[in-house]
Structure formats: structure tokens, C-alpha cells
């Protein structure tokens, strides 16, 4: 997966990697750390359509629950089955094997740069 400095971000602590018309989405290391040990991930099925800003999944730890928001309008083309069977990937490799969904989109909304996101979380 791409260098995190070149990824785009949302204020909901998600990262977006854009390759053509496909956006790969995950949660940031900051979010994973705040959640704690992730024990369960619920993702939308491939083929389902998602709307920007709407809740499409859940990331559950032993002590809290985080919601997965769709960062773009589009159609889910793939959900990461590896993360569903091994939720700990979200903690161990949030920017890599811990990716969550791939969404095919036509228009990309305005997202945050690495610098902007870093400022948001005070790093």
C-alpha cells in the first residue's frame, strides 16, 4: 500500500488511497490506537452502493465501537475478508493489510491531505 504521506484522509479518521476510479479505504493508525484491540469488523458486501458520510460498517474493540463511514459515493467492489477473519490486522497494519473496503466512484469529494490530517490529530 502507498506511503501514508501520499494518502488522503477524512475527519472521521479514515484514509483513502485512490487508484483510477477505485478508492481503497481503511482507518488510520491514530483511530486504531484509540479504539484499542479490534475484535470484530463488519463490512458492506461487494456490490452494495454507499453514500458519502453514511455508516456502512463497524469496527469493534473490547471497549468501544467505531463506525465506518463511506468517504465517497459509489459501489463497493471488494471488502477485505482477511480483516473480517483476523480483525487484529486493523491494529497491526492499519495502512496495509488492515484496509477495509474498495469503492468504485465517479467523483471524489474534497479530502484532507496528510499534513491537514496530522494537524487534526495534533501530531
Amino acid at each position: 500500500m502507498a506511503d501514508k504521506t501520499t494518502l488522503q484522509y477524512t475527519a472521521d479518521h479514515e484514509w483513502v488511497f485512490v487508484d483510477g476510479s477505485i478508492a481503497t479505504v481503511g482507518i488510520t493508525a491514530y483511530a486504531a490506537e484509540k479504539l484499542g484491540d479490534v475484535v470484530f469488523v463488519e463490512l458492506p458486501e461487494a456490490g452494495s452502493s454507499v453514500a458519502e458520510g453514511k455508516v456502512v460498517g463497524e469496527i469493534e474493540s473490547t471497549k468501544s465501537v467505531g463506525e465506518l463511514f463511506a468517504p465517497v459515493n459509489g459501489t463497493v467492489v471488494e471488502a477485505n475478508d482477511a480483516v473480517v477473519s483476523s480483525p487484529e490486522l486493523v491494529n497491526s497494519d492499519p495502512f496495509g493489510d488492515g484496509w477495509l473496503i474498495k469503492v468504485e466512484f465517479t467523483e471524489l469529494p474534497s479530502l484532507l491531505s496528510y499534513e491537514e490530517y496530522s494537524k487534526l490529530v495534533g501530531e
Binding site: 484499542g36 484491540d37 479490534v38 475484535v39 470484530f40 469493534e60 474493540s61 473490547t62 471497549k63 468501544s64 465501537v65 480483525p87 487484529e88
Partner: protein, 967 residues
């Protein structure tokens, strides 16, 4: 004048209190409390109180004896989900009457709760085996509410878009009423059916779920598998309420295709007690576990890799997921679940089957003898219940009363009778019963083979095994049983070992005298639907207690029906809903809840059909008045209620509470005051006087009902007169104890929230005795001592841990929040490390990370003495010094007594690798004897720190094979 009970209940005497006062900077307790409680809400003592002057322990017991004597214990055949049972004496004495079990808290600190967690996983395994389903939780509040939760689960889990839930016409009447009340609040449509559908009807079904009572309320047993298949085929879930004793002989719900099974474990050795407390149950098919309400025990492993129990999947629950939780229930019925599970452990599968066969055979014998004499026995297929046609049901009931037997009236010409374990143990009972129907027992009549009798279809006979785990097949002798119970109790930390300073939980003394009456048969062996004439003593006790609770809270009416705080909240919010609806204000459905509120508030609001709007909390932990006003303006038209906790969840007397309640009232809203923290208020202020319209109280906090390791609770709902018509009643109540309302005012379901009319009456003598022995003066003195203790802890620990939040004059209420975050920042030592290290020092941790993450909330209560409070303070100071030593580099950040806490005996003797090597940067003595006094008496945790994530990622909720424990 005898000895004052209040001097036994309150741990600090006047000498100790003077010492504590000097640390806090006040001259008297009265002066301290009056400085802490805002002047605007203080109340003067009532000129005429209904609370009598304090009785001594002997006097209170004598009065309870008199009340008990006014109840009449008859042989109950009423049935409807409640059956007389024989509590094995070894379980009564070693569990129900044993403070090691009844004074424990909910097992949120699993390392010091392994005993009851094992007992609860036995309960889950018992339910899973008997119902034939994969995963059971560790108890529901009762059968009726478990059915409601089953309905709500079906709606969450079903892919059907239907809003209709099918209800069995042969369901228990209290269950039907509960379903009606609860479905209406959340917009579910119920459709009652006798399930006489034939195959042609199946495609017409459009429901998200269906409920089946198995066996039916009438006693009828039929094969529901075709109905279940039809419901599932169109996308719905099948919820089956099943009788656990019958399931030893009947095919299980799982084998019939059910998705969810619910019911009660009452008849497994738990006295009827006029309706409770008992443990309900719920079991589900695999795949539905994340939809389960309530507490679920699972197996994980500790830091040494040994199996260890813990509460699993807590992110489902209301304290985390708030308005999106699977349910609002939190306190369950742990003590009663433990009793029921131990009943199964003691009897084993063969013993349970024998009891069931005896019950079934006796029922068959009664049917045969009645039929031979020409009596109209209408039941064709049954387990323990018969319906009998008579000329005049009232006359038959009267004749039965003559024989000291209670039957059930079905209609003017039909009575029903249910046989139970206790009945089969009574010599001559069946002969007396036959006499009621004018049938004489003839020679040889009693011969019937309990082994071969089967009065239901052979296809429904159980052939599958159950309770095959060794735990259910080992403890047959009383000696073995007694030792198993002791072995488990020894693993746990309860109030009989030391202080449990859990903030917002009020772990005060549960006095022995208060507990005395709980096991008297005049309170225990009474059916919840016994005739009014049989429960006169109970009703007097209930009405007295209601009056006292109304007086101390400033309300007009109280219902004792809610059997947990969560249910009290729901009842209160439903009363508000009913009030608005009665005025045509159906649109008033917005419930304002401060961000700092307990998650249960939000979960309850959703179940009352309300929309939650969160109000911000300011830096001082109080409701942000500007945000409140803005939210009120925004939602003024639709405002239903504000829920506020007082003192706040931060343990502070909010100065502006009157401004808050006035603002809500001005906009047409109602004020719900959460009574969780009432222990800081009794005698000094009353909810009803500062703007509360309705509140729930926690008798298991303020009024001494023991926590039981996670239940029972009692959560009465108290309200002003305008809401009283909407407080819970019950269609089968012997007497509606809410004043000034008539049946005509009430819906048929009577706003019911619990299966039994008066909730859990058998534990009400505890709270009655507490108030009776304290008197109004004593209750006030307890408040003072509790507030003093919290402020003393805050004053003594302030230099070591910042104390978050304070009210007037820098004082806290009955609890204080110690901020561990600066310590974490400076040393890396977390709030978890501090909590687990306290175990090594011999303490139960305070409340962790509520209401603020990274903090500890300490509530010493009035019952702890100064020596114990000082021992706790010393431990906290010593732990701070240990953390400082880590920061100073004396111990590495990853190898110090804090990060490895708690330490088991095995860990210090055998080391981590089991080779007797001690390979740590600190000594064995520093690990387990950080203070010398521990050498004389130490609580040893049985496991090391438990891996929370492992247990959730690898969910196991049944007894593990014993090989798992091999070293």
C-alpha cells in the same frame, strides 16, 4: 432502648469522623454536607414522617415475623411459569445465605471473579444443552422480559421488512401483556394466533418473527417445527419460550429449528418469592451472538496462557453502545443464575430427568384418576399442567382452598393445575387434590410407572444428551457440593474480604439481619398469582416500603415492579410517554441526555420509543446550560423529557439543577432524575422538590439489597401524581398499589414492565428492614458518613492523583474521580495497571474509565471504617510511588510490578516459564507483599491479567473441557 443498628451499619464512629473532618477542613458532618449540597435544594426534616423511629435489629425482625405470619403458604398448583421447588439446603446455605456469593459485584474485574464466572458459564452451558442452542447469556431478568428481548432481537436480526410479530395465543398472560406494552413503544405490531395454520397459509406470512410457548400456558404440548420452518422460510426468526424442566423430557427448541430460546430457571431450586427474583435465560443459534442482550461469559486466557473467564462482547452492551445497544439491561440475576446452575450441578442430568419424570407421572396419575371418575380433563398432551372442566370454577377454587391448595381459574367452568417438584414430595397432596374434585382415592390408585409414562407425541420425546460435561456429573454428595461452592467462592473478592470502592455502585453493607427474612417460607413459597387473602403481609410490607420511598424522594407514588434499574428507567420514560400521549402530544418524543450520562439512559430512551439528543457537558462535568437551552429551543415542540443524574455521574452536586429542571418544564418537557446516586442525598434533598417528575431508585445500591455478583436488582420507579396513572401495574395484580387510579384509567396491559406484579418481592424485606432499623435520622446519618468518606479520600489523595470535578466549596458528593492520565503520561502506567495492581494490595479496583476514560471513580460508602479507608489510601499512594519508580528508571517500563499485576501464587513460586526461575526486575516480595500487613492475610488472585481481545476474537461461551486446565 437497645443497641442502635445505625452504629453497626455506619463504619465510622464519631471519633473517626472527627479525624476525617479535620483532614477535610470542617467541624461537623452536618456542616460539611450543608456546604456541599447547594442551599437551594436543601430540605428541612418533615414535621410528620411516615417512617417510624429506628427499630433495633430484634424489633425489626419481630415485625417482619408478624408480617410474614399474615401471609399464607399453600400448596401452589397455579403454574403460569412459576412452580414450587426444593432448594437443596447445601445451595441455600452456601450460596443464597453466603456473603461470599451475595455481596460480590458484577464481574467487571474478571481476575478476582473467576468463581462466579465459572458458575455462570455452568449456567450458560446448562441452558445451551437443555435448549439445544449454541450460545446462552448469563441471565435475563425474568421470562416475560426475555420474550420481549427475543422479539427485539428478531427485529434486529431479521432481514424481513415486516413490522409484524406473531404471538402464541397460548402464551403466558403476563408475557402477552409485556409484549403488548413494549411493542407499542417501539412501533411493532403484534398478531396473536393459535397457530392452526395449515400449509396453504404459509406463503401468506409476512412477519419478522414468531413467538411460541412450549409447553403452552394451558399445558398443551404440540410440535411447532412446521410453524418454525414456515416463519424462517419467509425471513423471520422463531423465538421459543421453553420450560427447562420439561426440556429434560422434550425435544429441544434447537432441534425443532428455533433461532432463539428464552425462559426462566426459577424451578431449578429458586423459591417463587411472590414473583422473584429469578434468573431468566436466553440462548441463540450461532451467528446471532452479537445480537444477544445482557451479559455473556466467555473463556479467554491470562498472561501465563492459562484459561480464564471474563465477560465477552461487551461492546454490544449499553455502557458502550448507548442508544445503539442490543438492550438496556445491565444488572442481571447472577445470584439466582448461580443457584439454578448449582441445582443442575447437584442433581446432574439423571437427577433432573428423574424430577421431571416424577412431575410428569404425578400429573398423568391425576389425569387418569380424574378421568376414571368421570371428571372432564381437557388436556390431551401435556407435561405438568392439566385443564379441567368443572361446573363452577369459583366453587372448585374454594374447595381447593379448604384443602390448602391453590388452583388456577381459566374461565367460569374451567380450572387448571400444575404439578411441581415440591408437590411430588408432599405425602397425601394428590389424594387431597382428588378430593377437591369429589374423587376418592381407591386402593392401588397411586401406582403409575414414572419411567414409562409419556403423555405427548413420541416424536417430541427427547433423545439427545444434555449436561454431559463433568461438572454436572461429579458433585453428587453434599460434601463434594459444599466443597465445590467453597472452592469457587474462594476465588472471588466480595465485601466479606474488603472494600469494593466502586463509584456509582454503592457497595455498602448488606446486613445479616436485613437478609434474614429472604429465606423464610412465608416470603419464599408464595406464588406471584396467589389470592390476595394469602399475601396480606406481603402487601402491607410493599405499601409501607412504597410510602417510605416516596417520602424520602419527594414523590407521590412508587411502583416496586421494575426488577432492575434499567427497567425502572424504562418504566419512568414510558410513564412520561403515556402522559404526553394522554394530552394529545404524541409528537413529544425527544429525550435530552447529557453526554456524561450512563449509557443505560440512552438505551432505555430508545426502548421507550424516544429519540435521543445529547446535551454537552462543560469542563466542570456539569450540564452545559447554554447547550441545554439551545437544544430545548431547537426541540421545544417535540421535547418529551430530560434525563439527568443527581448528584451527577461525576459525583458532584450540580449547583444549577433548579435552572435545568425549570428550563425543561418551561418548554413542556418532563424531568427524569436518575436515582443511581441517591446515596448522596437522603435526608438532605429530594428529587421531587427540585424539579423531578419521575425517578428510578436502585434498592441494590442505596437500600442495601446485595449486588449478588451482578443481580438481583430492584429499580422502583417513583413519580409525581400527574404521572402516577402511567406507572407500572399488572393485569394479574392482586391489588393495584398505586393510589387514585381505577382500572378504567388503565390499558389492559397495565403498563407492565416485569413478569410479576410486584417485581422481586422476596428481597424487599431487605430494604424494608434497612429503613425500619435506620429511621429517618439514621438514613441522614448514612448520607453524611458517605459524603464525608468520599471527601476524605479526595483530600488525602489529591496530592497524588488530581481529583477531577468538584461542586460548591470544592467538595465532591459521595464519590470522587481520581485522574490517572497524568500518571500515564509521565510514567506509561495505565489505569488498567493501577486497577490490577490494587488486587495485589488486596483491593477491588474502583470504577474504571467511567464517566471519564483513564480515571478511577471511588465511592467508599458509609459502611467502611476508617482503618479500611486508610488502608486503601495507603495502597493508592504506594502504587503512585511504584509508578514514579518506573518513571525514574528503577524498573523498566515493560517489567515492573504494575504491568505484570496481578500476581498469582503460582507466578511467584514457579515463575513465568514454570521453571522456578524468577526473571523480573523486581523481587517476589515486591510482587505479592508490597505492604507487610499482607503477610498475615492476603487475597490471592487465581489467574493473572486476562487477555480481553483473545476472548472476543475466539468466542467460547460454554464450559471448556477439563483438559484445557491441565498444566
Amino acid at each position: 432502648m437497645g443497641e442502635r443498628f445505625q452504629d453497626r451499619h455506619i463504619g465510622t464512629d464519631s471519633v473517626a469522623q472527627l479525624e476525617m473532618l479535620s483532614a477535610v477542613g470542617y467541624d461537623s458532618v452536618e456542616e460539611l454536607v450543608l456546604a456541599a449540597v447547594p442551599e437551594a435544594i436543601q430540605v428541612e426534616p418533615l414535621a410528620t414522617s411516615t417512617i417510624p423511629p429506628a427499630a433495633t435489629e430484634r424489633e425489626a425482625l419481630a415485625e417482619l415475623r408478624t408480617l410474614a405470619g399474615r401471609n399464607t403458604v399453600r400448596r401452589s398448583m397455579i403454574g403460569l411459569g412459576y412452580y414450587d421447588t426444593i432448594t437443596p439446603a447445601v445451595i441455600k446455605r452456601n450460596v443464597l445465605e453466603n456473603p461470599s456469593w451475595y455481596t460480590a459485584y458484577t464481574p467487571y474485574q474478571p481476575e478476582i471473579s473467576q468463581g462466579r464466572l465459572e458458575a455462570l458459564i455452568n449456567f450458560q452451558t446448562m441452558v445451551e444443552d437443555l435448549t439445544g442452542l449454541d450460545i446462552a447469556n448469563a441471565s435475563m431478568l425474568d421470562e416475560g422480559t426475555a420474550v420481549v428481548e427475543g422479539m427485539l432481537l428478531a427485529r434486529r436480526a431479521s432481514k424481513s421488512s415486516s413490522n409484524v410479530f406473531l404471538v402464541d395465543a397460548d402464551a403466558l398472560p403476563q408475557t402477552k401483556a409485556l409484549l403488548a406494552n413494549r411493542a407499542a413503544a417501539v412501533g411493532i405490531q403484534l398478531h396473536e394466533t393459535a397457530y392452526d395454520l395449515d400449509a396453504a397459509d404459509v406463503p401468506e406470512l409476512d412477519v419478522f418473527g414468531a413467538f411460541i410457548q412450549y409447553p403452552g400456558a394451558s399445558g398443551r404440548i404440540w410440535d411447532p417445527s412446521a410453524v418454525i420452518a414456515a416463519v424462517k422460510a419467509q425471513g423471520g426468526l422463531a423465538v421459543v419460550a421453553a420450560d427447562l424442566l420439561a426440556l429434560t423430557l422434550l425435544k429441544s427448541p434447537g432441534e425443532l429449528g428455533a433461532d432463539v430460546a428464552v425462559g426462566t430457571s426459577q424451578r431449578f431450586g429458586v423459591p417463587m418469592g411472590l414473583g422473584g427474583p429469578h434468573a431468566g435465560y436466553m440462548a441463540v443459534k450461532k451467528g446471532l451472538e452479537r445480537q444477544l442482550p445482557g451479559r455473556l461469559v466467555g473463556v479467554s486466557q491470562d498472561a501465563a496462557g492459562h484459561p480464564a473467564y471474563r465477560l465477552s462482547l461487551q461492546a454490544r452492551e449499553q455502557h458502550i453502545r448507548r442508544e445503539k445497544a442490543t438492550s438496556n439491561i445491565c444488572t442481571a440475576q447472577v445470584l439466582l443464575a448461580v443457584m439454578a446452575s448449582m441445582y443442575a450441578v447437584y442433581h446432574g442430568p439423571d437427577g433432573l430427568r428423574r424430577i421431571a419424570q416424577r412431575v410428569h407421572a404425578e400429573t398423568a396419575l391425576i389425569a387418569r384418576e380424574l378421568r376414571q371418575a368421570g371428571v372432564d380433563v381437557r388436556s390431551a398432551s401435556y407435561f405438568d399442567t392439566l385443564e379441567v372442566g368443572v361446573v363452577d370454577a369459583e366453587a372448585t377454587l374454594a374447595a381447593a382452598t379448604e384443602q390448602n391448595i391453590n388452583l388456577r381459574k381459566v374461565d367460569a367452568t374451567t380450572v387448571a393445575l400444575s404439578v411441581d417438584e415440591a408437590w411430588t414430595d408432599l405425602t397425601g397432596a394428590t389424594a387431597d387434590l382428588l378430593g377437591v374434585f369429589g374423587v376418592e382415592a381407591k386402593e392401588g390408585w397411586g401406582e403409575i410407572s414414572s419411567r414409562t409414562v409419556r403423555e405427548f407425541e413420541v416424536e417430541l420425546a427427547r433423545t439427545s444428551d444434555f449436561l454431559t460435561h463433568p461438572v454436572f456429573n461429579t458433585h453428587r454428595s453434599e460434601t463434594a457440593m459444599m466443597r465445590y461452592l467453597k472452592y469457587l467462592a474462594d476465588k472471588d473478592y466480595a465485601l466479606d474480604r474488603g472494600m469494593i470502592p466502586l463509584g456509582s455502585c454503592t457497595m455498602k453493607l448488606n446486613a445479616a439481619t436485613e437478609m434474614e427474612a429472604v429465606t423464610w417460607p412465608e416470603f419464599g413459597a408464595i406464588h406471584p398469582f396467589a389470592p390476595e387473602a394469602d399475601i396480606v403481609g406481603y402487601l402491607d410490607l410493599i405499601e409501607q416500603l412504597q410510602g417510605w420511598l416516596a417520602e424520602v424522594t419527594g414523590y407521590d407514588e412508587v411502583s416496586l415492579q421494575p426488577n432492575a434499574g434499567s427497567q425502572g428507567e424504562l418504566a419512568g420514560l414510558l410513564a412520561i410517554r403515556g402522559y404526553h400521549h394522554s394530552r394529545g402530544d404524541q409528537h413529544r418524543a425527544v429525550c435530552l441526555i447529557p453526554a456524561s450520562a450512563h449509557g443505560t439512559n440512552a438505551a432505555s430512551a430508545v426502548l421507550a420509543g424516544m429519540k435521543v439528543v445529547v446535551v454537552a457537558t462543560n469542563d466542570l462535568g456539569n450540564v452545559d446550560l447554554d447547550d441545554l437551552r439551545a437544544k430545548i429551543t431547537e426541540h421545544a415542540e417535540n421535547l418529551a423529557a430530560l434525563m439527568i443524574t443527581y448528584p451527577s455521574t461525576h459525583g458532584v452536586y450540580e449547583h444549577e439543577v433548579r435552572d435545568i429542571t425549570d428550563a425543561v418544564h418551561a418548554a413542556g418537557g418532563q424531568v427524569y432524575v436518575d436515582g443511581a446516586n441517591l446515596n448522596a442525598l437522603l435526608g438532605y434533598a429530594r428529587f421531587g422538590d427540585f424539579g423531578g417528575d419521575v425517578s428510578h431508585l436502585n434498592l441494590h445500591k442505596t437500600f442495601c439489597i446485595p449486588h449478588g455478583g451482578g443481580g438481583p436488582g430492584v429499580g422502583p420507579v417513583a413519580a409525581k401524581a400527574h404521572l402516577a396513572p402511567f406507572l407500572p401495574g399488572h393485569p394479574l395484580a392482586q391489588r393495584d398499589t398505586i393510589g387514585n387510579r381505577t382500572d378504567a384509567d388503565l390499558p389492559w396491559h397495565r403498563n407492565i414492565v416485569s413478569a410479576a406484579p410486584y417485581g422481586s418481592p422476596s428481597i424487599l424485606p431487605i430494604s424494608w428492614a434497612y429503613v425500619r432499623m435506620m429511621g429517618a435520622e439514621g438514613l441522614k446519618a448514612a448520607t453524611g458518613a458517605a459524603v464525608l468518606a468520599a471527601n476524605y479520600v479526595a483530600a488525602r489523595l489529591r496530592d497524588h492523583y488530581p481529583v477531577l470535578y468538584a461542586g460548591d466549596n470544592g467538595l465532591v458528593a459521595h464519590e470522587c474521580i481520581l485522574d490517572v492520565r497524568p500518571l500515564t503520561e509521565a510514567t506509561g502506567v495505565t489505569v488498567d495497571d493501577v486497577a490490577k495492581r490494587l488486587i495485589d494490595y488486596g483491593f477491588h479496583a474502583p470504577t474504571m474509565s467511567f464517566p471519564v476514560a483513564g480515571t478511577l471513580m471511588v465511592e467508599p460508602t458509609e459502611s467502611e471504617d476508617l482503618a479500611e479507608i486508610d488502608r486503601f489510601i495507603a495502597a493508592m499512594i504506594a502504587i503512585k510511588a511504584e509508578a514514579d519508580a518506573v518513571a525514574a528508571g528503577r524498573w523498566p517500563a515493560d517489567d515492573n510490578p504494575l504491568v505484570h499485576a496481578p500476581h498469582t501464587a503460582q507466578a511467584v513460586i514457579m515463575g513465568d516459564s514454570g521453571t522456578d526461575e524468577w526473571a523480573h526486575a523486581y523481587t517476589r516480595e515486591e510482587a505479592v507483599y508490597p505492604v507487610r500487613s499482607l503477610i498475615r492475610g492476603k487475597y490471592w488472585p487465581p489467574v493473572r491479567r486476562i487477555d480481553q481481545a483473545y476472548g472476543d476474537r475466539n468466542l467460547v461461551c460454554a464450559c471448556p473441557p477439563i483438559e484445557a486446565f491441565a498444566d
